[in-house]
């Protein structure tokens, strides 16, 4: 198994240990991109909110116009036709705007840098936001299934958890060449809630498996991986949330990540 090698001529580019200077540059570049993204997010939010409001106001006007036209004995056919066109455009605008708004919302809640104290977090919502963001990039070739049963909240902070799952989902998506599937499941295991992310990707060799949590280790092409994603993910899950992260992988068969997080159960809900 070639472990998804896309460029066999330069095997050195895969499974490499990044040199520390390049890692520093990447971190600086990421910080800059993050900073710009925050500004752009804020800049898009206001116009999007305006559009959303205008679409609603226009809908009310269209309905009022329709009611006025209906009162006339013989409404002008051109006016009726124009109203129909307006209605259909309106429908498209509503869908377009809702899609933008949902994406902005997911981005906002995942990108929050403010340090929120730990508390009960609805894990389904966090996963739905992360899936939404990954779908924006990969939905044309990868189908993501989110199986959520009504789960007990976990004890955590939504934004870092969102980033951890986003990392795992992006890794899963990048492990898939061509078309494939990612399945996200949540299971209530008593004191812990387990999230499983399974991909139909290339899987990992034993050598890769040993190093995936090492700083600077990446199998991704130059310029794509920083070798920090899984390390940060583990810090969020294990250090910040007192959870665990494990995985099972075999080359050619895909990978499953198992993330366990403490359940935020009220005393009377204790199983």
């Amino acid at each position: 198994m070639e472990n998804g090698s896309r460029n066999p001529a330069t095997p050195g580019a895969l499974h490499r240990q990044r040199d520390p200077a390049a890692e520093g540059e990447d971190t600086a570049a990421l910080a800059l991109v993050g900073h710009l993204a925050g500004g752009i997010l804020h800049e898009i939010s206001s116009p999007a909110a305006s559009l959303s409001s205008n679409i609603d106001t226009r809908q009310r006007l269209i309905e009022a116009l329709g009611a006025t036209l209906a009162l006339e004995g013989k409404p002008n056919p051109k006016a009726l036709q124009a109203l129909e066109v307006l209605r259909s455009l309106q429908e498209v605008d509503r869908l377009a705007c809702d899609r933008i708004t949902a994406l902005l919302g997911a981005w906002k809640s995942t990108a929050r840098v403010a340090e929120d104290p730990l508390g009960p977090v609805e894990i389904e919502g966090v996963l739905a936001d992360a899936v939404r963001l990954v779908n924006a990039e990969y939905r044309r070739r990868i189908q993501i299934e989110l199986h959520t049963a009504p789960a007990v909240p976990v004890w955590g902070a939504a934004a870092p958890l969102g980033r951890a799952f986003l990392n795992l989902l992006v890794n899963a998506a990048q492990a898939i060449e061509g078309e494939g599937r990612i399945v996200v499941e949540i299971e209530d295991c008593g004191p812990m809630i387990e999230v499983r992310i399974t991909d139909t990707g290339s899987g990992m060799t034993a050598a890769v498996q040993q190093q995936i949590f090492s700083r600077g280790f990446t199998t991704k092409p130059v310029g794509t991986g920083t070798g920090l994603g899984l390390l940060l993910t583990r810090q969020i899950i294990e250090d910040q949330h007192r959870g665990t992260i494990r995985f099972k992988s075999s080359p050619g068969q895909g990978t499953t990540f198992f993330v366990s997080l403490p359940a935020a159960r009220k005393p009377h809900e204790e199983p």
């Binding site: 804020h42 939010s45 206001s46 116009p47 999007a48 909110a49 305006s50 959303s52 409001s53 205008n54 609603d56 106001t57 009310r60 006007l61 708004t101 906002k108 403010a114 929120d116």
Partner: protein, 160 residues
């Protein structure tokens, strides 16, 4: 004592002209109120110094002065006017400060839902107008009580 409430006075503050236009268009369609829009917080404050408002709706992030500071100033000028923060900048710290220090009537996030915005503004306006009516009636009650006392004193004097 008037039986009807006066025309609502609504003050909107947002540094984005676009947002003001959208909210104004919607409110013009759905309310009878007068809508006063400002892109600069300082201008909104100048307006509030001279004109009674029923509700003040402000954005959070604006140049010169943020929405919480503006609403604190609005509270000082017109304590009975309801204050609403309409923000795209969901930050728990600023929300807590707004609620505690500016005595917020409602904290609303962008993108807002028009129907919800309308409900909130109507409730805010009703509250302010009832509060003002109550103040007027209490003043009238005081006057009436004074008048009664006056009559009482004259009655007592007449019998003595």
């Amino acid at each position: 004592m008037p039986d009807t409430f006066p025309v609502p006075e609504i003050v909107l503050v947002d540094d984005e002209e676009m947002v003001l236009t959208s909210v104004r268009a919607f409110l013009t369609l759905e309310t009878e109120g007068n809508i006063h829009c400002f892109t600069r917080p300082a201008e909104a404050i100048r307006h509030l110094e001279f004109h009674p408002a029923d509700v003040v709706v402000s954005d959070y992030l604006m140049p010169g002065m943020n929405g919480v500071e503006l609403l604190i100033e609005a509270k000082r000028l017109q304590p009975e006017a309801a204050r609403v923060l309409l923000t795209g900048h969901a930050d728990k710290q600023s929300a807590i400060r707004a609620i505690n220090e500016a005595g917020l009537f409602h904290y609303l996030e962008k993108p807002w839902d028009n129907a919800q915005l309308l409900l909130i503004l109507n409730a805010a306006i009703e509250r302010t107008q009832l509060l003002r009516r109550l103040q007027t009636m209490l003043a009238q009650l005081d006057d009436a009580q004074d008048a009664m006392k006056h009559v009482q004193t004259r009655l007592i004097k007449a019998f003595l």
